[in-house]
């Protein structure tokens, strides 16, 4: 399955995910998260940062199709890095946002 990361079964999912990083702004947050993603051979498709509801928020859309790690493994690495950087990181499949917010 080219559109699925390693080890995942198909559920007609796109293989794209949204990574949300919430916390206070400081040097090295994007670099730290991006290095974890790059090591897993995950491509960043888009990235934005803004202040939403008083939180400094960075949102990345990534493509997991070439990933060398499973979704869970990558999630665990991101959680570890988030701890180091004192921010909150969530990675969720893109579909959850598409289905909830678009008809």
């Amino acid at each position: 399955m080219p559109s699925q990361p390693k080890g995942e079964s198909s559920a007609s999912l796109s293989g794209r995910a949204i990574i949300t990083i919430i916390g206070s702004d400081r040097v090295g947050i994007i670099a730290g998260i991006a290095s974890v993603i790059a090591e897993a051979n995950v491509n960043i498709l888009d990235i934005s940062q803004s202040v939403i509801r008083e939180f400094f928020t960075m949102i990345m859309m990534v493509d997991l199709s070439g990933a060398t790690l499973t979704f869970d493994e990558l999630n665990a690495l991101l959680a570890g890095k988030a701890g180091e950087l004192a921010v909150r990181v969530e990675m969720q499949r893109e579909e959850i946002f598409k289905t909830m917010h678009r008809i």
Partner: protein
Amino acid sequence: MRQLNFSGEEILETISMVRTEQLDIRTITVGISLFDCVSDETQALCENVFRKITRVARDLHRVSSELTREFGIPIVNNRIAVTPISLIAGKVGQDRLLALAKTLDRAALELKVDFIGGFSAHVEKGMTPIEAELLATLPEALAATGRVCASVNVGTTRAGLNMDAIAEMGRIVKRTAAATAANNSIGCAKLVVFCNAVEDNPFMAGAFHGTSEADSTINVGVSGPGVVLRAIQAAGNVDFGALTAVIRRTAFKITRAGELIGRAAAARLGIPFGIVDLSLAPTPAEGDSIARILEEIGVDRVGTHGSTAALAMLNDAVKKGGAMASSYVGGLSGAFIPVSEDAGMIEAAARGTITIDKLEAMSSVCSVGLDMIAIPGDTPAETISAIIADEAAIGMINKKTTAVRLIPAVGKKVGDNVDFGGLLGHAPVLAVHSDSSARFIARGGRIPAPLQALIN
């Protein structure tokens, strides 16, 4: 963002629905047909049942935790619903039904699911010997097992009410309370008496896999009273037209999440997707309460005048929003008003604002009935039967599902507190009327099916 077709604001809205407003998928329920398990031999029957359940749902727990992590929305419960056991038990035999109940319990334990539903019988018109025996076995079966849920359908709009079965269920509820007296009569929390039971309900304790269903199916129950409450708070002081729009929009989002996760679970488990149940199901967590929503709509405390109308509006708006969001809606689909599982209901019950009579009235405009209500342990069986008959009559006449799940907690009196633990919560004991209904129940026979025209 170039690639995104939704905004950062929307992404954060979803995340905060989960983090602070208790949005979750309440249950993924795998329905499993047991018709191909039948056997003359009790041991072979039990073995077939155990094997089939544990084979079909073997990956349920794993897939459900995978989906929780990938979509970032918790799936709170994994459950199993099976063909009503009275239909596959085959013949009356000593301890055969009890052995089946224990087999279901063992299968649930093996699969790490908290409840398995379907120790059930449908007796709205009459009772076969096996169904009579299943009813008689309920107290012992519910005492001997931890995860098995039972339901008995005693009426439908097309068949009327089986008053003999209703009389019997009053006694059985009492005996179940006595059999589990050491555990706050918790056996009664696993026993539902239905009118117009539905075949694809994913919620416990009333789930079973109906005879018209496929060999196996995935049904999903969504939740989200907290999300609806927050949306109504944010809307402020608007009129009812605007308020229903807010509720519909919110229900749409919640239901879409449920449908997505249900379909993903179905694909990964290789089981066909059935339905999304649009129910708003409360939990004892503060804020995750139907009562609080009604209070936010404008009644000072749930149970006071206006509560029924507010609930009717809420229930209808949730259904309208949800029905737009899913191709297949089913199950009970309505707001639940269980007392012990809803912090606002518990508070109103303790203050005496909500009574069993008001709860009965409210159940005529929502799902699903008199649910998780603790009543005094010395309530006569005939009174319980009469409460069941009243509630079933509402369902029969209004062509809707109604249910009764009463706990006549042994040794408890009005105002005492009964604690069931976990999602089942705790409840103050509510008063029932002391005037007897014994002569009414003693008549027996059936209340005939109602006219389908001249319906005022």
